[in-house]
Symmetry: C2
Subunit: 241 residues, 2 copies
Amino acid sequence: MTTKRRLLLISNSTLHGGGYLEHCQEHIVKFLGKQVKRVLFVPYALHGRDDYAKIARQKFESLGYGLDSVHEAENPVEAVQNCQAIFIGGGNTFRLLKALYDNNLIPAIRKKVLEDGIPYIGSSAGTNVATITINTTNDMPIVYPPSLHALGLVPFNINPHYLDPDANSKHMGETREQRITQYHEEQDTPPVLAIREGCLLLVEGDKATLLGVTGARLFQRGKATSEHDPGHDFSFLLAHS
Amino acid sequence: MTTKRRLLLISNSTLHGGGYLEHCQEHIVKFLGKQVKRVLFVPYALHGRDDYAKIARQKFESLGYGLDSVHEAENPVEAVQNCQAIFIGGGNTFRLLKALYDNNLIPAIRKKVLEDGIPYIGSSAGTNVATITINTTNDMPIVYPPSLHALGLVPFNINPHYLDPDANSKHMGETREQRITQYHEEQDTPPVLAIREGCLLLVEGDKATLLGVTGARLFQRGKATSEHDPGHDFSFLLAHS
């Protein structure tokens, strides 16, 4: 049933020194291909939805795609049901997930992606909500969603914007590695793929491949953490579904 | 009713280069005074409760206080009802708050602190849960508590381990300032006192004073952010209660 799944999960929308989605625009064009004419944008992760849609529209139009923002639709569920592709942008993951629940979009997006096979692009928070839960977001819990369970388009978690520990830091807050390790102290927690800025994961059916330039770390409960270069095949992470 | 309140809210348990609670031990001794003989420790924020209690016990015994850990009590609610002082340690704020709910300790601790006037010490996550909500924790949401509302011993939020923006960083994740600002984009959000490592807030009844060495930033919805040195009087933040 899930073999139709097509996902492009991006760590970060903007890479230092570059423009919005610039570092991954070639991957986006290749992923969407020529059949898709318009993309449905979900701007819920940021407060200023109009401004956010404007930025995303400008970028996608420059790549040759039209863009509709779901917040401008009279009926968001119908907008999802009728779309050709979805792009969920970054911002605050809690705010994004709560709005997806509030607008009843979780089942609608799941069906479109997993059953109808439309392409899904997520960036940062949009990548977090594509996974099984948002337990490994980096964001501040500024609102309280009805659950941390997310779209579940893949059966593992992702930590975007992954940061390696800084040996020179005098800051005593937990490192990212310590935080993910604390997650795996909890029972029955799935693998966490930590993708650095500049990195993205392409999922085509039951095949998952790391793209980009910076590599990823894989955290699994009860196992040693491992480091993986771009091009690595992560399909085994999909086998849990 | 809340004028009995006595709180010592610490940003961080360990300062770079120092031992556990070393940077604030003089404040702790002065705060607890000579009437308190034993402290009730809440180790819920870390997974290894026995080890955590051992570390805390060693430290408090070195300062002249006995320490009981609530996780060793047959009845945690009774342990709270009978204690002379409470210390809630740092770790993961979500895990801590969930365990406080699971063990039915929220009303018990509120009553002891706000009505009976026993001293409350919180550090990091233990400081987050002392406030109105944990909306401004830095921690990863590794578990899902039944609410983000916390003990509400003060009517505002705190962001511990506050980090100033790093102008040289190439990381594109949100700065702490941006995250707190996103919180204030939401309706009806209370002030957030962001306390740097090395900083603590002393609350005695309706008087709140910043202690330590590093200072704090105050974020208020719709107002300019302001910087405050140790010694600053923050009593006006208590007036919302």
